[in-house]
Symmetry: C2
Subunit: 263 residues, 2 copies
Amino acid sequence: MTRATDPASLTPGEARALFRSGLVTPTAGWCRGHAQANLVCVPRELAFDMLLFAQRNPKPCPVLDVLEPGATSGLILDGDVRTDLPLYRVWRDGELEAEVPDVREHWRDDLVSFLVGCSFTFEHPLVAAGIEVRHIVDGSNVPMYLTERPCRPAGDLTGPMVVSMRPIPADRVADAVRISGRYPGVHGAPVHVGDPAALGIGDLGRPDFGDPVRIEPGEIPVFWACGVTPQAMVMASRPSLAITHAPGHMLITDARDSDYLAP
Amino acid sequence: MTRATDPASLTPGEARALFRSGLVTPTAGWCRGHAQANLVCVPRELAFDMLLFAQRNPKPCPVLDVLEPGATSGLILDGDVRTDLPLYRVWRDGELEAEVPDVREHWRDDLVSFLVGCSFTFEHPLVAAGIEVRHIVDGSNVPMYLTERPCRPAGDLTGPMVVSMRPIPADRVADAVRISGRYPGVHGAPVHVGDPAALGIGDLGRPDFGDPVRIEPGEIPVFWACGVTPQAMVMASRPSLAITHAPGHMLITDARDSDYLAP
């Protein structure tokens, strides 16, 4: 990618080719108009519990698609789920074993890939409405936090909800709620506005994932359910193997934002 | 139930007690304000494919809840899924084995129960808007039809979409679309308006499930995706065992219609 290329104007195929050839970067702001996705791959014997966990926790885990066992592409991914994300995490027994740009050496034919909606999808509509998305402007990763709010369990799978945070001017909070609420398939409206302590978040300056961001005077921290929640579930539930994206380093799908607009 | 009791005014618990004690009737119009559900129970080894089939076909198969393997009650059902519906169907290898008001003798501890949204849920809002629901007025079961539109398969599970039909005056079709569209969790907006042949339906007077209804001059047949679709899947895919509701004879849940309003 030349410096002159605006990541927002790339097609999903162009972006995935860059990541496949080694570029590592958070993907907020990339490929305007296209849906981004969280990735979590688990062995087939856990796939029902994982899908049920997602079904029971639709705010943090809105399922966009599930690939066939062993499959590496699908209806909204004309690519390879093992190479086309900028960065992955490989988990053994709930412990982070590796953070790598390619997971082909860890792949198994019994892995089932879940593509889970990502709030980056509605950031372009926020920007189009004149609402600044701080981590895009500052070129950093979105801040994400473990909360004290438990997910509804499924089988042996359990864990806390993870949230992403964007500081929003007080007079635009209602607009941010309305606009993101139009996209329930990619986390939808915020789960919490303005009170980090109520979620068990002690220090906004120390996110559990991603980077801290500036909060300007007059801005309110607004919290959206986050697709890193399955990673918190992996840490809590300790499956023998799981492969996920690295937080903020998403799968850019061929689906359009507008595919996930509420009716 | 005395004849003086209006089924619309019963609580879900009262209705389920009547069905548990042997009353057999279609449930359209019952328990105003409460969500009704289709039921499909499959063995645990098919549960992932069933949940994936539903996830891939959200218009006919919107999942309201999934019970734990062997469980007979859950978050939106303070009752017993084996006895609290008016009528069930038991399927072996895709063939209808029995139609019975109680399935306790067929129950197995590895069965997983899927509660799938039902369009009866948005009939009360249609009626409240002055749109007559013909099968309620006439005291018959809603007409349902197999279509030529295939569902997206999942594993070995496949089959055609089933639709329900309501005749709507031409000048109220748009209202019926808007009102039902507010409830995407219970089939939402129609999948087709006005052209049965395009769905492969030859004769509206001969539904595949339920009863035919009068279509008055100036009324247009409007088709909604239907939760009998999993039964068409059972017929096509022939799992060793499945238990479902009998078409139109639904599970009345403790959830409210308003729980499924779009954001």
